[in-house]
Symmetry: C2
Subunit: 290 residues, 2 copies
């Protein structure tokens, strides 16, 4: 099924039903897709009502049949995409796996969730970004990928590398798929919003050192010191709206450009194809394993 730039295909991967959905570029497009996934998952067309969840006040006592209750944790979403990296040590073609999402786009500011904003590690990430980058005047929001998704992607990548290692014993030599976990900075454009300066915009960049600032950022969170692994345009919305709905979500993005450090680098088309193929495989393995 297709409408505008959104296409959806449903099939099975190793026997588990999986839907693959394209989104357009940018947070606005993803905001649409997550709302529509919400409707597809939780609106009961036949009864013309939202499906009850355990703990719903309207449900208590009324619906004795708990088998009908919807479990939001059953919804698992993994974004697969491409990105740049502000880390001087990040190899191109590595997979950047999201633990935290830094929303520099403002799409989710239209969704208030004080219970998410109050989480200490998210407050720490938000404070660090605003204190140590030129984003101090930006009203950013922060979300967290679900830990089972983040870990599931890492596990799937390690399993893939074990398989590739096994394959090396044959004639076909394979390089291992690198995988780096960290925070993902999501912004509302590709050029100035990612510190790229084009022509006449050169004196008009609000945050000219954004990439270096994000690359140098160190955030003290409950799980240790966190770095910004990548910059792209969609992950914050996937993670924030899913966290709000109780869905389990995360992201795995191929680093196609290393944008800081001594040796800046861009992945070739061939390298990108191979890494994207690995990212898709890792995401599928993770989603059926969790």
């Amino acid at each position: 099924s297709q409408h505008r730039e959104i296409s959806i295909v449903t099939g099975t991967y190793n026997g588990t039903p999986v839907s693959v959905v394209s989104t357009g570029m940018g947070a606005g497009s993803v905001e649409i897709v997550i709302n529509e996934i919400h409707v597809l998952k939780e609106y009961d067309m036949a009864r013309r009502a939202w499906r009850p969840r355990a703990g719903d006040s309207a449900v208590e006592g009324k619906e004795a049949n708990t088998a009908e209750l919807f479990d939001p944790a059953s919804v698992k979403i993994i974004r697969v995409g491409t990105c740049g990296s502000p880390m001087p040590t990040m190899p191109v073609t590595a997979l950047a796996v999201t633990r935290y999402a830094i929303g520099m786009d403002n799409s989710c500011l239209f969704y208030k969730a004080p219970e998410i904003a109050a989480l200490p590690d998210l407050q720490e990430v938000r404070r660090a970004v605003r204190e140590h980058t030129g984003l101090r005047d930006f009203d950013i929001y922060v979300a967290k990928a679900h830990p089972t998704i983040t870990q599931g992607i890492v596990n799937a990548c390690e399993a893939l590398n074990r398989k590739l290692g096994a394959a090396t014993s044959s004639t076909d030599s394979q390089t291992p798929q690198a995988c780096v976990v960290g925070a993902t900075a999501t912004t509302s454009g590709f050029y100035a919003p990612q510190g790229r300066v084009v022509g006449r915009f050169h004196n008009h960049i609000t945050v000219p050192n954004l990439v270096d600032e994000l690359g140098q950022l160190r955030m003290n969170v409950s799980e240790g010191t966190e770095v910004v692994a990548n910059i792209e345009m969609e992950t914050s919305v996937v993670c924030y709206l899913s966290q709000l709905l109780g869905y389990r979500a995360g992201a795995v993005c191929v680093v196609v450009a290393k944008r800081a450090g001594e040796k800046r680098e861009t992945a070739s088309v061939e390298q990108t194809k191979k890494a994207v193929s690995n990212a898709v495989r890792v995401a599928l393995e993770a989603i059926v394993a969790i």
Copy 2:
């Protein structure tokens, strides 16, 4: 040519070269397209240099041949799209023609332009929006469609109606194409960012009365009292970045949903098709006439 959701076709309309470019949904996607139009128009591939403009300090005296100077006003951009309207009196299928653009997305906050922000009418629009809507905590930006584009679209719509009127003398009766000029509110999503509440998000809408508030907004600007004609997801970026570059830009969007007033209404597929066809025709006529 096509890349991701961006397609571009160049041809001629009544002898004038015109390119038609699709953008994806949302401000981020348009931010990319305008930067790339900027490169295509002003970067001289052969000389590997940006084309000089009249008034460039580096150019004065150096480039005697003024024939080579690039005139930014020669670049004319009209966005054609669909939108909702917060005006209780707006008929569906009407064309909303942008005079001002209210950027509730934050893409262009990454492009500072104090000279645009200082314009009195833009300050008036920004102040009115922040004082009279729930957007007071949002850091919005404002831009203006180029007056020749706004007027050109209105003129083309009137010319179309004269033609349709002439056609009525035959058996084929045609209703005139309505056209309303006003401010366009651009936001960074379709659901909560446009006041639409879906399922579990119902207690999480930051600006729940956005549509009514925008519909009731009256702004005193140099050209009289301005209303908000429509809400959509792309126009602010088209207008703001074009204004910054000195390009002439504007937008004409078909109202497919009237979202306020006694009688809310959605245009049918047939109505939408016809109005979009009129919008395309009006935009083409305007762009070749200006």
